[in-house]
């Protein structure tokens, strides 16, 4: 357990030190909220209907584009090989990295999401559902993203392929994430969508470290 928390602390400390790209991703996230009203017009009713989808697309893109930071730096300086042969099982190492990645990449997005909700004309109740659905759904994105990052870690310019690989698998997260905010006209099913989202997050968090660890180990000689 000590090794696990030490790893998470290491990741957090490294991220704080290099800080810059996390800020960039949050900016990217917020900018999508700025750009969409320009693109579709300032009609509040329309924006309000599109808002759940736009928020989630923005979260999607920000998290997928930030995937490279999971393993690439450690792969390039050889730390990944050392971690592979550590006492802590490699899947636990990956799990620690996923959690740290979520803290560093997703929490700022969740904190920034009210800003997005306001810009996209979301009303009171939906406002908090945005924050909640992102809170529950972004762990799934981090976990699935780890698989993509693990598969592409040894490819030289593989950073762009990982989002392409993960996007098809993450479609259910998107569907239920948006559903957890609003399910459109008709009865309010957002509660059950949120539960589905939670289930997906828990399952992916539990299983993806093993898949990602296997992908990295298979990729080494």
């Amino acid at each position: 357990m000590k090794a696990f928390t030490a790893l998470i602390t290491r990741e957090l400390r490294l991220s704080i030190r290099t800080g810059g790209d996390v800020l960039t991703l949050v900016l990217f996230f917020v900018m999508i909220g700025v750009v969409v009203p320009f693109a579709v017009g300032p009609d509040r009713a329309l924006l309000g209907r599109l808002a759940p989808g736009v928020v989630w697309i923005a979260a999607f893109l920000s998290m997928l584009l930030g995937l490279d930071r999971l393993f690439r730096a450690d792969h390039e300086d050889g730390t990944l090989i050392l971690l592979r042969h550590a006492d802590l099982p490699f899947s636990a190492v990956v799990a620690a990295k996923v959690m740290a990645h979520w803290i560093v990449s997703a929490v700022p997005l969740i904190v920034a999401s009210p800003l997005l909700a306001v810009m996209l004309a979301l009303d009171g109740a939906a406002f908090w559902r945005v924050v909640l659905s992102l809170l529950v759904g972004t762990p799934a994105l981090a976990a699935l993203g780890a698989i993509g990052a693990a598969v592409t870690v040894s490819i030289r310019r593989g950073g762009l392929i990982a989002p392409v690989l993960i996007l098809p698998l993450a479609v259910p997260v998107l569907i239920f994430g948006v559903g957890a905010i609003s399910t459109g006209p008709g009865p309010d099913l957002s509660g059950s969508a949120l539960l589905f989202l939670a289930a997906i997050s828990l399952i992916t968090l539990a299983l993806s470290p093993f898949a990602a660890a296997l992908a990295i180990s298979s990729g080494e000689d």
Binding site: P168, L169, A211, S218
Partner: protein, 254 residues
């Protein structure tokens, strides 16, 4: 123990030598091709000249004779890729690697064809080219997974390392196959539910079932023939790359 009394290695072991594999399976290519052509001839004759129009859909039911086989193949090929992936990861079988790589572009093409024929069938039958229902969406997701795998193969320099990593990813993506299969049952949608492989047997009359089965087998044989040929080419390509590397090392350039 002499070479005569030594135990013979098992079939899979002998198959694992790429040269042996090609030598063993090359004689199968022409028979497979002829069977495929014959089946297509029979199937197409049935489809156009010897089967009735559906009482609901009219003649457009004939699209089913190419839509259902390509849709079935899109899942079958992924299943084959997943089995090869297991062979690659667990046993490091060289032919499993080759099989996985050769199957991916073929599977992608058949999935795209399934979407294409389904779309053309949907327009006259349901009034729309596309609908985001369970089966169509998950088949589109399958196509994206196939294309991602094809892109992955091209991105790696070392093909042997690529095989193992891609095998992991293939198995992760395999979760999508049961979702496609059961999506028409789980979500009440536009697409019709299963009518061939159900618990009580097929729901279709024989006059429509027969051309369907013939075409399905024809398409499957087509895939198997192309797959085998592509595997031979891949074995040759790896040999070629090794030779090119050897040539570069010894300095013998053109």
């Amino acid at each position: 123990m002499t070479t005569d009394t030594a135990p013979k290695p098992s079939f899979w072991y002998r198959l694992a030598h790429p040269g042996q594999f090609v030598a063993l399976t090359r004689p199968w290519l022409w028979p497979l091709t002829l069977i495929t052509v014959a089946l297509f001839a029979v199937g197409l004759w049935f489809a156009f000249f010897n089967s009735p129009e559906d009482y609901q859909m009219g003649d457009t039911v004939r699209i089913m004779y190419i839509h259902v086989p390509t849709a079935w193949l899109s899942q079958f090929v992924y299943g084959l890729m997943a089995v090869s992936a297991i062979g690659s990861l667990v046993w490091r079988h060289p032919i499993a690697d080759v099989s996985m790589k050769a199957a991916a572009p073929l599977g992608a093409t058949f999935t795209a064809l399934a979407l294409f024929t389904g779309s053309l069938w949907g327009r006259p039958t349901w009034g729309t080219f596309w609908e985001w229902d369970g089966r169509m969406t998950s088949t589109l997701v399958l196509l994206l997974i196939y294309l991602g795998i094809v892109a992955l193969w091209r991105a790696f320099d070392d093909q042997l390392r690529a095989a193992r990593v891609i095998a992991v990813f293939t198995l992760v993506g395999a979760i999508n196959i049961p979702i496609i299969k059961f999506s028409v049952d789980w979500w009440s949608t536009l697409h019709q539910p299963s009518s061939v492989f159900t618990m009580s047997g097929p729901h279709m009359p024989p006059s429509i079932l027969t051309p369907l089965l013939v075409m399905a087998i024809a398409f499957t044989m087509l895939f198997l023939t192309l797959h085998l040929k592509a595997m031979h080419t891949e074995v040759a390509r790896r040999r070629l790359m090794a030779l090119q590397r050897q040539a570069a090392q010894t300095g013998k350039t053109a």
